[in-house]
Amino acid sequence: TAGITQAPTSQILAAGRSMTLRCTQDMRHNAMYWYRQDLGLGLRLIHYSNTAGTTGKGEVPDGYSVSRANTDDFPLTLASAVPSQTSVYFCASSAGLNQPQHFGDGTRLSIL
């Protein structure tokens, strides 16, 4: 079973470059989320989408953008990467309110 697929698994990126992290789910979940996980800070919400065509800002949205053209895909774009965006990025989805979120395996991103 696929569930949530994230790509790439890891990436090293030069500061100032742009990068899109891909996330695809096959569970037909309405809601999707992007988090970053940093040591000592847990998971912090970057952006979310309650349904296709809508997006919203989370706790740490600056420097990131998202789009939700269809139910399955929720890409996260860094327009001009900075070293503080070095982190592990997780995509998640849920069927809706009061339903648990399910996570992908993450993308480890290093900005040099």
């Binding site: 847990g42 998971l43 309110l97 009061n98 648990p100 979120q101 399910h102």
Partner: protein, 109 residues
């Protein structure tokens, strides 16, 4: 500001021990509290709690929520080395999850 605080930050136990992990929270629009286990990659869902005083159980793991005192505990009995992981507590506030920093559990054989 909404916050979720987990304790302890880390602990080391021996196989067979029982552990209790704590999670306290302050959020404006509480919907539910969730526990996740994270080993090498993706956090995996353990429990979702919405009502006070009702224990949820899965094998050696159990959890309970106290909405009056604003906390939850996760118990693991007869720990095994495979229980070594980061345990994450998250509170559903509105339509978003607010996570604690996690508890790192290491079970020694």
């Amino acid at each position: 500001e909404d916050k979720v605080v987990q304790s302890p930050l880390s602990l080391v136990v021996h196989e067979g021990d029982t552990v209790t992990l704590n999670c306290s929270y302050e959020v404006t629009n509480f919907r539910s509290l969730l526990w996740y286990k994270q080993e090498k990659k993706a956090p995996t869902f353990l429990f979702m709690l919405t009502s006070s005083g009702i224990e949820k159980k899965s094998g050696r793991l159990s959890s309970i929520l106290d909405k009056k005192e604003l906390f939850s505990i996760l118990n693991i009995t007869a720990t095994q080395t495979g229980d070594s992981a980061i345990y994450l507590c998250a509170v559903e506030e509105g339509n978003k999850l607010v996570f604690g920093a996690g508890t790192i559990l290491r079970v020694k054989s």
